[in-house]
Amino acid sequence: VAILVDERSRVLVQGLEGREGAHHVERMLAAGTRVVAGVQPGKAGEDIQNVPIFDTVFDAVAQTAADVWLAFVPARFAKTAALEAADAGVRLLVLATQGIPVRDAVELVAELDRYGMDEMRRRGLGQRSGNGRRAGFERPVARNASERVPRVRLVGPGSPGLVTPGRCHVGFMAADMFRAGRVGVVSRSGTLTCEIAARLTRAGIGQSTCIGLGGDPVCGLGFVECLELFEADEQTDAVMLVGEIGGDDEQRAAYAAEQMTKPVVAYVAGFAAPPAKRLGHAGAIVSGGAGTAGAKAEAFAAAGIVVARRPDEIPGLVAAALSARAAGDGALGPA
């Protein structure tokens, strides 16, 4: 089944206009993606690469049953556009736009969380969890991935897209980098996602799904949920995780990866990055040093997760993880 997108996904594109937009739509179609609709206000009735265009997301979803929204709308309209898509019933939002104000991203993820919580309450799912580090962050957390199906998921902002090779390409990553297989890739970086997928492909290691989460300070989908989805996915045998400096999503991922039966290999970029220039006490107090590449690599190492030092080490480490798993579900493999 892969995760998040597959050959049944019906993709709606918004903000992909002009020659370049047509080029990306063409690339997605050529890669086997079902691009079913485009949205360009005032252009209803026209088409891009024979994909019908609608005035609004509501019209597009009503007429084509689109269930994945890919958008490259200007930063200042991105929050409103994403909420419209959620209101129209789309449950997977892929926001490629970069440079969205932090306030908009914060409000957007809070609104979308609420969609999910309402739905889970209606279905009587979820539990109170002490997941947050500080008191007051209780929110229902699904006990497993399948409980979360109704949630509205936001990938991005700043996502390069998601690829289930050969079945569904959403976004801007070139299809020839990928090959169908059994390794999940999840990354906070755009080009590194392509580079690492291409390295795996050249080494004969195919991918189940590759996800570019986007590198903004505030993003929707994070590593932990992706790891849960990969753990539950029958077509994934191992996960390659690509982290970056900033935030603490890698530390949370290290904890989640420790609970998994499938092997995870990690890489973190930014060891030589200078410490962020930061005014005042608040930043240091809130993050407590979790944002550095060193702290993240340590967290992975402490959780028993293999950490690649350079991108070129990745294929070898992933191959080793796969064969160890094949030899006896990891636990019985060579130390």
Partner: protein
């Protein structure tokens, strides 16, 4: 885009705009102005260096001037300081107040929890971080619901925290109400002005004497019980210092704040105008990468190979021709750059398009160099080595190594080889990094005096 830090005087203007009291005073740019403002404020005054750097107090950037005779010397001295690598170009002259207690109050983005966070502490001093390490309970944190109105969000979450601070400081309901109002106004400012940090450090309880009292109340609306010191002296709350950072991506809707932008060097501004992300580092290898992760990974690889990057420059995964040209112009004209590494993985862009962009960018660089040569024949005659001024740097281009891989990269590399044979074109980042580190070493040796280079 990165955030934009505001000077203290700018932050205080924002506080005043939402009714949060600050000491009386004004910003000045020279000693004569300082004396004028000090006389108007009334001695003694505090003279505070306006720099975007930590450790201002320790560096001697905050001093009291007791009278007319002292102000010229104090202001002149501080104006001549370098604090954290920043020259002091302006001063804030303020009334001296008698501080009874210092409180810490800040709102910042908690990116891990993806929402704003209110921080409060009864220990408002400069050693807050150490205090919090020793006694974590000294800091109270209140997550703020981003979907609620600030008044509701703060009153919903912060009641317990402000009550505790008011009680430990012996002030009770008066301070509690004042802090609630103040926290609300700070969060409203944070939200409405797209800040990523508003930090009052400290927020101070000061003597409310006739000179500064003027009947002003916290947030302009507070009408609860008054604040008094244990000896009965009336007190008031005001922000002695403030740090504000504004989200660089939101400046399109904060145009008045965008006009305050000053915290960047010339290269950083040129890069920003071309929508290229650029950060100055302290090495000698120029780095241009397609995408932030790839550029960071390149800087890491250079460090691991024993080299040092002069900058971090991300032209974006799309690697468009204009961005490549702009990045080349910014990085290749940096006199510190001995060799330039361009690392592009064409995953989003097409490799051939990237190569075309590189050729066009190099062409523009050559044209700029030719124009500079034509305009400056004398300066050219004086050119010696790479120790040249920024303008002359346009003429001496460092050697360039391009790593181009990815979609349609073979055609891209072929085009580069034909059009730009002097540029070293390689396929793997490892090879590229080894080359530039070796070239940077060689260039360093070449510029050393002969005896030393024979040694090396």
């Amino acid at each position: 885009m990165r955030h934009m830090d505001l000077f203290e005087w700018q932050g205080k203007r924002l506080l005043e705009s939402v009714g949060i009291p600050v000491p009386r005073g004004a910003v000045v740019h020279n000693v004569a102005e300082a004396a004028q403002v000090a006389a108007a404020v009334g001695f003694p005054v505090v003279v505070k260096a306006q720099v975007l750097a930590e450790g201002r107090g320790k560096a001697g950037g905050v001093r009291v001037a007791g009278g007319r005779r002292e102000i010229d010397a104090v202001a002149g001295h501080i104006m001549g300081l370098q604090i954290g690598g920043h020259a002091v170009r302006s001063l804030l002259i303020e009334e001296l107040l008698r501080v009874r207690q210092e409180i810490y109050l800040a709102v910042t983005l908690d990116r891990c929890e993806r929402r704003p966070l209110l921080l409060l502490s009864g220990d408002g001093g400069t050693a807050l971080e150490e205090v919090v390490q020793r006694r974590p309970e000294a800091l109270l944190t209140v997550p703020l619901d981003p979907l609620l109105d600030p008044t509701v969000a703060v009153h919903d979450g912060a009641m317990h925290a402000v009550t505790r601070i008011a009680e430990t400081s012996g002030q009770g309901a008066g301070l509690r109400e004042a802090l609630l109002d103040l926290a609300t106004q700070v969060y409203r400012l944070y939200r409405d002005r797209d800040a990523t940090l508003v930090e009052l450090s400290p927020l101070a309880l000061v003597d409310d004497d006739a000179s500064g009292g003027q009947g002003r109340r916290v947030a302009g609306r507070h009408s609860g019980p008054s604040l008094r010191h244990t000896d009965g002296a009336p007190l008031r709350l005001l922000a002695l210092d403030v740090k504000v950072s504004i989200d660089g991506n939101a400046l399109f809707r904060q145009r008045d704040l965008a006009a305050w932008r000053s915290d960047e060097d010339d290269r950083e501004r040129r890069a920003r105008n071309a929508q290229v992300s650029y950060v100055t580092l302290d090495g000698d290898i120029g780095v241009i990468g397609s995408g932030a992760g790839l550029a960071m990974s390149t800087v890491d690889a250079i460090a691991a190979a024993g080299g040092r990057a002069a900058n971090f420059c991300d032209i974006g995964g799309g690697a468009r021709a204009e961005q490549i040209a702009a990045a080349l112009h910014v990085v290749a004209t940096d006199p510190r750059v001995r060799v330039l590494l361009i690392n592009v993985f064409a995953g989003i862009a097409d490799g051939l398009e990237v190569a075309r962009g590189l050729v066009a960018g190099l062409g523009r660089l050559d044209a700029a160099r030719a124009a500079a040569e034509a305009a400056l024949p004398i300066a050219q005659a004086h050119l010696a080595g790479r120790e040249v001024a920024d303008g002359a740097g346009e003429m001496a281009r460092p050697p360039i190594v391009v790593r181009l891989d990815g979609s349609n990269a073979t055609s891209g590399r072929r085009l580069l080889l034909t059009e730009r044979p002097e540029v070293a074109t390689v396929e793997t980042p490892l090879e590229a990094v080894e080359r530039v580190v070796a070239l940077a070493r060689k260039s360093l040796v070449d510029t050393l005096p002969p005896v030393l280079s024979a040694d090396a």
